[in-house]
């Protein structure tokens, strides 16, 4: 009950500044993402003929046997909460899978938590670790969510620029230069959204050394692990001494074409996982049971075969797109993972925003301008090639024509 004498004050606040006056300053300070702005532009054009290379998700629908498992479980009336950390069978399967695929072993009872997408895993880790003012190191161009969710937890995101000449890999020198006494967390994302960069074991070793020397914690977002094309994915947690310093975050969205199911997981030191579990328990209770049933099917019964088939198809399309960009005279480093090509449009003399906007309006191809991904992204274009070969071929022709007209 609001006391009478308090009412005028509240009304005044509302009248003077609108709802903004009530908003928490750290929430208000967050900018809408560049992707969002570009999405609005694309939506506004309402053109049916647009080919989009702008979506960061598979063009496959979830394999039927995975969908079927969820449908069947619904028919059986499986509609309840599960244990907070996720169904024990699923955690068991995740542990087994990580061990088999990437040689990292986690105790399903204490070191694995099932989350609502990899997104929640990253958020939980940041919330569990960040004290106000802590610095979070983010190699850029990076996935667009890291900086804003860092800010929401009271931390300060510090971008570390990576370069096309290094295939957008983080180097020990630039990491070292960015570390300050306030640095606490390093967020790694290999294979990378948006550049498709991957890092080898040998390239990660000097990073691990710096992590150790500077007492950092690593959030390793390995959601694109399965989409590694030229060599088997190396999990950062598998490096010597890194398991206890790493929170491995992953999920089912990309490899199993399950974006809408919102299924992910985080693995790490039991002390940290137990705090993340508390936050998870008080905010979302548990991941949805239908998604968990589907995820279990994905990992255990033939889902892995379907995954391999999809990964092979991305690989084929990756070669097509990279070749396409090079043929039309754009520099394009070879993405070794995820499903994005990141060609340079600098040779056209346009900024990435101008290029993307004109490409959309004049050639009806939507792709995301690189500057939205932070430092080092200007001058590049993110093109997701998870689209049919027919569409890709048509998109390449349109981009080529567009560039010829610019000349």
């Amino acid at each position: 009950m609001i006391k009478d004498e308090q009412k005028p004050q509240i009304q005044d606040r509302a009248r003077s500044g609108g709802m903004n006056e009530y908003l928490a300053s750290h929430a208000r300070a967050i900018q809408p993402s560049g992707i969002r702005r570009f999405f609005d532009l694309v939506s506004a054009s309402k053109d049916k003929d647009i080919i989009t290379l702008g979506v960061g998700e598979p063009d496959f629908v979830t394999p039927w046997r995975i969908r079927d498992a969820a449908v069947y479980s619904l028919e059986k009336g499986k509609t309840q909460y599960t244990s907070n950390a996720g169904m024990p069978e699923l955690r068991e399967a995740i542990g087994q899978y990580l061990d088999n695929q990437f040689h990292v072993s986690y105790d399903p009872a204490k070191e694995i938590i099932v989350t609502v997408g990899g997104s929640e895993g990253i958020d939980l880790a940041l919330r569990a670790l960040i004290e106000p003012g802590d610095e979070i190191l983010v190699p850029e161009p990076s996935y667009i969510s890291y900086s804003p969710i860092t800010a929401l937890s009271g931390g300060v995101a510090v971008g570390i620029e990576t370069f096309a000449k290094d295939q957008f890999k983080l180097t020990a020198e630039s990491l070292k230069a960015a570390i300050t006494p306030k640095s606490k967390i390093l967020i790694l994302c290999y294979p990378s959204n948006p550049t498709g960069a991957v890092m080898t074991y040998d390239e990660m070793l000097p990073i691990a050394k710096l992590v150790e020397e500077n007492d950092l914690i690593v959030i390793s977002d390995e959601i694109y692990a399965e989409l590694s094309f030229n060599a088997k994915h190396v999990s950062f947690a598998s490096l010597p001494g890194m398991k206890d310093r790493t929170i491995l975050v992953s999920g089912f969205s990309k490899a199993f074409a399950m974006t809408g199911w919102r299924m992910g997981y985080a693995c790490g030191h039991p002390d940290l996982i137990s705090v993340m579990l508390k936050i998870h328990q008080y905010t979302v209770m548990c991941a949805p049971i239908m998604g968990q049933v589907a995820a279990l099917e994905a990992l255990t019964k033939g889902g892995l075969e379907e995954k391999d088939r999809m990964v092979e198809s991305y690989n084929q399309r990756r070669r097509l797109v990279v070749q396409g960009f090079r043929d039309m005279g754009l520099e394009c480093h070879e993405p070794q993972g995820a499903f994005y090509a990141f060609p340079s449009v600098q040779s056209t003399g346009l900024t990435s925003e101008q290029f993307a906007e004109r490409l959309l309006l004049e050639a009806k191809v939507a792709a995301v301008p690189g500057h939205v991904f932070g430092k080092g992204g200007e001058g590049f274009l993110r093109c997701c090639y998870a689209t049919s070969v027919t569409q890709l071929t048509e998109a390449m022709e349109r981009i080529n024509l567009f560039i010829r007209k610019l000349e």
């Binding site: 992707i35 647009i50 979506v55 996935y143 070669r319 097509l320």
Partner: protein, 163 residues
């Protein structure tokens, strides 16, 4: 069959119009190698034909398709081979399979209308000497053929731009 050829077949089965250059790029191979492999497979009748799967129900030119179970007496020394040959040479016959179970041959027949199919069965098929009996089943609607779902809407339901 080596893996390279299998990958080529997988791609061509999805889209027979893909050029050797595109296939080569997609597989990270040389164009000459792809062309050579395709030529070899054509030569060996691994690739029999490049055809189009048509959903005839969308075309005015209506057709009737029936599946006929045929029971017959195998011929001494040649089994079902010569009967199958007699059957498959008719242009009305789309496919012929030797089956295990309650009957011997499964024959797919296509005709302009019901009457044409019925008359083929009674005048041509049933009168072959070793044929003992036939059972006809007319196909009312095709939902899926050769792995292709006919009514599947390939609309992309994804947003146009996303993280």
């Amino acid at each position: 069959m080596n893996e390279f050829k299998l990958s080529i077949l997988d791609l061509l089965k999805e889209d027979a119009r893909l050029t050797a250059t595109t296939i080569a790029t997609m597989l990270g191979a040389e164009q000459e190698d792809v062309s050579a492999a395709i030529a070899e497979m054509e030569q060996d009748h691994v690739i029999v034909k490049y055809a189009t799967i048509v959903n005839w129900s969308k075309v005015d030119d209506e057709k009737v398709t029936a599946l006929i179970e045929v029971e017959c007496t195998p011929e001494r020394g040649r089994g079902f081979e010569s009967i199958a040959e007699r059957v498959y040479l008719y242009p009305e016959v789309k496919s012929v399979y030797l089956m295990s179970g309650a009957y011997d041959l499964l024959v797919e027949i296509e005709g302009k209308n019901l009457k044409e199919v019925a008359s083929f069965v009674s005048n041509k098929l049933s009168t072959i000497e070793s044929v003992i009996s036939t059972k006809s089943f007319f196909i009312l609607k095709k939902y899926k053929q050769d792995g292709i779902i006919f009514e599947e809407f390939e609309d992309d339901h994804r947003l146009l731009v996303s993280p």
